[in-house]
């Protein structure tokens, strides 16, 4: 199998697909942290909520309804979280924030269990994305290509907004020095709120997009949390470039690790994480130099 280029092509696409899913999730988390210095461990739970909202909406109106409802609904949950909890916690230290959002994980987990039960739910892939597409000599599931495309377009959109628009400049200023940005007349609090909601919406989007591929279970948020944290620590907190680089590194190391050194598959990424922390503790592309 080592001489078959199709095999490696297939694995590269697998790696890219996993990377894009992680990117959707980590970008929200990392920008919220970079801008607000707020560690939101409950981000994984928002991803799970996205999958559940998506599954409920898809049961009524099909995949596309779920696809659009989930990010909006999760952003709504984000608004509630922000006004109820996070605004109060902004000035308390990181330890209190970590503890509160850690507790939130379990509260949200049990809430999803109460509402949706313990049995796994599912979303069927829409007809247009079912089946496989021939690509460079191999057949690859269309839905996975859709995830890759979605991830890339979200990346392009965010890169454009952050580097070319006024609100992007304001966000970059806020990340760099929020006190100075406030002095220049930027409403930093409102900016935080918008960024937080967009981050939540992206987590919800990741959840609904992952749902047809995986299964919708109450603990899916916990399972994805560690990979997401690894991605942002490797990539560097707060930066778009870091989130992309971290996601790609995680996706490729995980996928090719599983192929080339299956015994080490679960260790490799942690070894890499340790190496990054030793050599470059701020991550590869930190937002602040």
């Amino acid at each position: 199998m080592a001489h078959d280029p199709g095999f490696w092509m297939l694995q590269a696409l697998n790696a890219l697909q996993l990377s894009m899913l992680l990117f959707l999730l980590s970008i929200g988390l990392t920008v919220i942290f970079g801008l607000m210095h707020f560690v939101n461990l409950a981000h994984g739970s928002l991803y799970a909520l996205g999958a559940y909202f998506g599954a409920s909406a898809a049961a009524v109106g099909g995949f596309w309804l779920g696809f659009f409802v989930a990010p909006v609904a999760v952003a709504g949950v984000g608004v509630l979280l922000y006004s109820g909890l996070i605004r109060r916690m902004r000035k308390s230290g990181p330890m209190a924030q970590v503890l509160v959002t850690f507790g939130l994980i379990f509260a949200l987990l049990d809430l999803t269990r109460l509402f949706w039960g313990d049995l796994a739910l599912a979303i069927q892939v829409p007809q247009i994305l079912a089946g496989r597409t021939a690509l460079l000599g191999i057949e690859y599931p269309t839905y996975r290509l859709f995830i890759i495309g979605l991830g890339l377009s979200i990346f392009a959109a965010l890169a454009f907004v952050l580097s070319r628009t006024q609100i992007g400049a304001m966000i970059r200023a806020g990340v760099d020095n929020d006190a100075m940005a406030a002095c220049l007349g930027i409403n930093v609090e409102r900016l935080f709120f918008i960024v937080f909601c967009v981050g939540c919406a992206l987590a919800g989007l990741a959840g609904v997009v992952a749902a047809p591929l995986l299964s919708v279970t109450p603990d899916m948020g916990l399972q994805i949390l560690i990979p997401t944290l690894i991605v942002i620590v490797i990539g560097g907190l707060g930066s778009l470039k870091g989130a992309v680089a971290g996601s790609l590194i995680f996706g490729f190391v995980q996928t090719f690790g599983a192929v080339l050194a299956p015994q080490l598959a679960s260790v490799l990424i942690y070894a890499l994480l340790a190496a990054v922390l030793v050599i470059k503790p701020v991550g590869l592309f930190p937002a602040k130099g």
Partner: protein
Amino acid sequence: MKRAILAALGLATSLALPAAADDLKVGLLLPFSGVYAALGNDIEAGFTLALDEFGSDTGVTFDVVREDTEVKPPVALGKAKKLILQDKVDVMAGIVSSGVLGAVRDMVHGAGVPLIVANAGNDDATGASCSPFITRMSFSNGQVNRPMGTWMYDQGIRKVFTLAPDYAAGRQMIDGFTQTFTAAGGEVVGQEFTPFQKTQDFGPYLAQAKASGADAVYVFYAGGEAISFVKQYDSFGLKAELPLYGSGFLTSPLYVNAEGPSAEGVITALHYVPTIDNPANAAFVAAFKAKTGRVPSEFAVHGYDAGRALVTAVQTGARDRETLAAALRKVSFDGPRGALSIDPATNNIVQPIYVYETVAGDDGLTQKVLAQLPAEADPVNGCAMPAVSN
């Protein structure tokens, strides 16, 4: 005066108590929260159904104390202690996770409390660490898969690629299969164990299976991993060229509908499916549906048969820990799964194994039984068990 009141109280309780002599305290130790909560609920529903159905004419009242293990061994051990020392239960039942079973095993064994295992399938529990007080009414990991090796070889399959999560159950399930498959003359051309509960994307492993030149793929996955696996296997279009076989938990009725059409055509082996054709099963399915509105899963039947085993033991006149433990070892009956008995050498259940295909039915997916493979007792595996006493 005080003494008189005490005496009167004593008299009153002794008058009230005679009925209590036939009260049996049952500790039900199951996960009602955590990843296996759905299994715990199914087992409990089956267990109470059996006590209602068979227990009413024994003249014994079953007083069930439920405790939640949270699928955490230390928590479960604390709850087991509470049941044994504080509630002073006569018998215990339940246990979904083999990790939990390992944690409570010494406590149960030391206290001499009979425990009816209603799920946990670790081979060692009725092997090297077996106990005369622990009787298993569910299955053992090897037992479910062993008959499948020979059966698949007989179907003309010669080369197999295997996949399972990397933990004790995953390895025991696959080992059980490969033993008999290679003994029959088959070849395992590739074998991977994926990081347990850390694998979301099976794509890399599926590409390997495809490149391995195997005739078929044999896997064990359960719960959320099973759903992800079956859906991803189908999305890569592997089902047509590389048929998917496995341990029957892969397409359990509990979650097969979440797998949807991806599960159609998958052939697996299990000790129970709701479509087994016998009168006991028909009655059980109807009763379970009436009670819960769901089709019973293999987990529900574990609970049901555990409850029935308890009632059968009670019917022999057993009323305390010692006599119940002895009576449980001799239980046998015809249940929804067919003829069941307990192997006196290991206290593990002996039961037929059903090969079934998941097919589209009138309302959702259903199970078409392809073959009933004869019951075989597990190898003793280092279990030293005192002989059954009479």
